[in-house]
Symmetry: C2
Subunit: 144 residues, 2 copies
């Protein structure tokens, strides 16, 4: 029980502030979810968040987890990563970067923004505006 508080990378107050700053009403379950995500940069599926947040006792319902993650993504607090047809990952690292996706383990790893960049931005289809660039390098367990 004690280890829950000692590794706290972010205080409850800081989380609440951050939510408010993004125009998100800091309710109990939102703060609970945000604390998990903001503890450190990581990639979690809705299912994983649900499991972690309710690890000790049921705190948040499944629907609320989905609603909250969707809201956070909309507010820019987390980033949705679409690489696995089976599920969406939520990335708490909101700074510009890209990903490796290990297709064997279903694991995501960050690629620092400085490490990969496009050599040029192509002309966008007329009438459209760029919203983001996602670069995913799919890898699999090395063979030998």
């Amino acid at each position: 029980m004690e280890k829950v508080t000692e590794t706290q990378a972010v205080t409850r107050e800081a989380v609440i502030e951050r939510l408010k700053a993004s125009g998100v009403t800091p309710t109990q379950q939102r703060v609970e979810i945000a604390q998990i995500l903001f503890a450190r940069p990581q990639h979690l599926s809705a299912d994983q968040v649900l499991a972690i947040v309710n690890a000790e006792a049921p705190v948040v319902s499944k629907a609320t987890v989905y609603n909250t993650l969707g809201l956070f993504a909309e507010k820019g607090l987390v980033r949705e990563v679409i690489v696995d047809p089976a599920k969406v990952f939520y990335d708490s690292n909101t700074s510009s970067h890209h990903h490796f996706f290990n297709v064997d383990t279903g694991t995501l790893m960050d690629i620092d923004a400085g490490q990969v960049e496009l050599n040029a931005m192509p002309d966008l289809p007329s009438g459209t505006v760029a919203e983001g660039v996602d670069i995913v390098i799919r890898v699999r367990e090395g063979e030998r």
Copy 2:
């Protein structure tokens, strides 16, 4: 609705040859599906393929469409494009290229391989081998 009038862009024989060349037994429904895909480079969801192939008369079952698309992808005849959390797109353009994804219309557009490239390939996580690089530029309808 799209016209299904096959303008002989690919003959049935050519399709069969191509399937054989990839080690795929050319059954009736596989050829049917392949003809749609190989007619021209395009991005279709399993659902769309199902609708097109059965436009005139029920020819292929849903399960077979999914199984077949999965098989084609595995054999390198088509490429899976994961950009929409709701569904997988199958791209019959197997040459190296990337995509624009219009999040408003749910539409994919090709970006020629020459137009965008990575300035550098980052070091892969140890023990892994690169399988592919997917670059997706998300766009939305321009606002004005």
